[in-house]
Symmetry: C2
Subunit: 315 residues, 2 copies
Amino acid sequence: MRALVFDGKLEYCADYPTPVPNAGEALIRVCYAGICATDLEITKGYMGFKGIPGHEFIGIVEKCADESLIGKRVVGEINLWCGTCEFCIGGNKTHCPNRTVLGIYKKDGVFADYVTLPVRNLHLLPDSISYLEAVFIEPLAAAFEILEQVELKDKKVCVIGDGRLGLLCAQVLALTGCRLTTIGRHPEKLSILKNRGLRTRDNADGLGREFDVAVDCTGSNDGLNEALRIVKPRGNIVLKTTVADRGAFDLNQIVIDEITITGSRCGPFGPAIKALAEKRVDVMPLVDKIFPVEEGLAAFEHAAKKGVLKTMLRF
Amino acid sequence: MRALVFDGKLEYCADYPTPVPNAGEALIRVCYAGICATDLEITKGYMGFKGIPGHEFIGIVEKCADESLIGKRVVGEINLWCGTCEFCIGGNKTHCPNRTVLGIYKKDGVFADYVTLPVRNLHLLPDSISYLEAVFIEPLAAAFEILEQVELKDKKVCVIGDGRLGLLCAQVLALTGCRLTTIGRHPEKLSILKNRGLRTRDNADGLGREFDVAVDCTGSNDGLNEALRIVKPRGNIVLKTTVADRGAFDLNQIVIDEITITGSRCGPFGPAIKALAEKRVDVMPLVDKIFPVEEGLAAFEHAAKKGVLKTMLRF
């Protein structure tokens, strides 16, 4: 099969061995896949991953013990949990210490014609969700994770960062009816939100400590420091993006103002699928460019450019 | 009156003007006062405070519009809130942006024969609490604040640090029935907890990521990094002490493991008074040395020594 393979260097391979599903797994033909910041980090050595990267996708089930699934369009949760440990039993399966992670940790990902995943990881897609929209379900689910962690109803909320995840988070948080502002530096990206009636700002100048909740989607250490500047005492900061370096932060303000900081990673697919199916979020303006898998290296180069929205691969 | 006064340098003053209570305030004769880490920081310039420091005390009401209070033993909440702002109305009066803070911010403190405080800040003491015990009510209330912030029932909890606040926090957290371990470096301090049947360790060697909650009472940036090493995914870290410098922290782990970090400052006096009155905590082993106020400078020198527990002033 065709695949992008990382082994210290990302390469396109035209004849990579097709994976064979284990018991409980389905073989899925990948239709479209999205390149995200984590994929870019992986090609710089993040997680020491080797193999096929990629974890945002839509595909069609080709082989599966449950024949009713064959031919169906699916997306898949990316954490392959054990199901028997303290975390899995306690409902924290995305934190299973025995997990592998699709295209990120010890499990080949979706930048290939075929991928295998446990059937329990799969979600069927309603017809009302297009192929391209479906590629956004995984990051959209990550945005919905915030709603599992912080009470937003009637709160004054700020999303910091207008990158891909920032734009998804803003749309998802807006569904709660909270009083939302998104701060970004890219007028053309902020216009995606403006067009949906959402409030935006191109900087934090003049903002006081006025937000109950600030969500850092900047992907930089500056994000937390900016959040600390605009969040109220006893406010919440949600860290949504990982950053390469250790940053320096003033713990005193966190203590004196009793700020709560919560890290936020993978989220629930169900609400993400529902919101897309009901057209309550619009991800299509986030599609930047689609490359055939053979041009995968060019796609990665494109995705790494400043300001690019979602770069996709098609198969 | 006798007073310790800080104006770039701490000095003893034998004839400082006695304060005059405003409307709604009581004049209180201070009996005993405790020196805490914040007082030591203030003498290094923290908060830019000038005047009489000190905020842990027990005193007797001498003047008050409500005559029923005169002659009564009282302790006092240290935040002087406005009562009319969004924070006060919302029940967050310790975060009132218009507040002054006893002996810390724009309000003379208790290292003097007399202090004034609003009557609404005062708490009457039951006879079962001794003078020396009462001096611990303010920091004990700060320990109870943790119980307002994090659910501890049946949780595996670690207090990191065996200083004054660590020893109080450990005793307060133990009241919840949680599975508690305290890590410290001072066998003689840990013995105070051991004597009460609490589990202690003299280092974190061999500990995995096994705690649901870790409470950092170290007063150093290392505390948060140690907490991050021993707390479970989706666990909580409570920051209880302020530190002088900005530290470097790995935000990635916070995101990947969805850790929640909460700053924790002043707490409720009611539960602290009740726990002391019912002898459910024992603060007396924390009394280190008591100096007459005239020897206040020597008291500060003593309090600043490594490993010293509670240094007090008597009037």
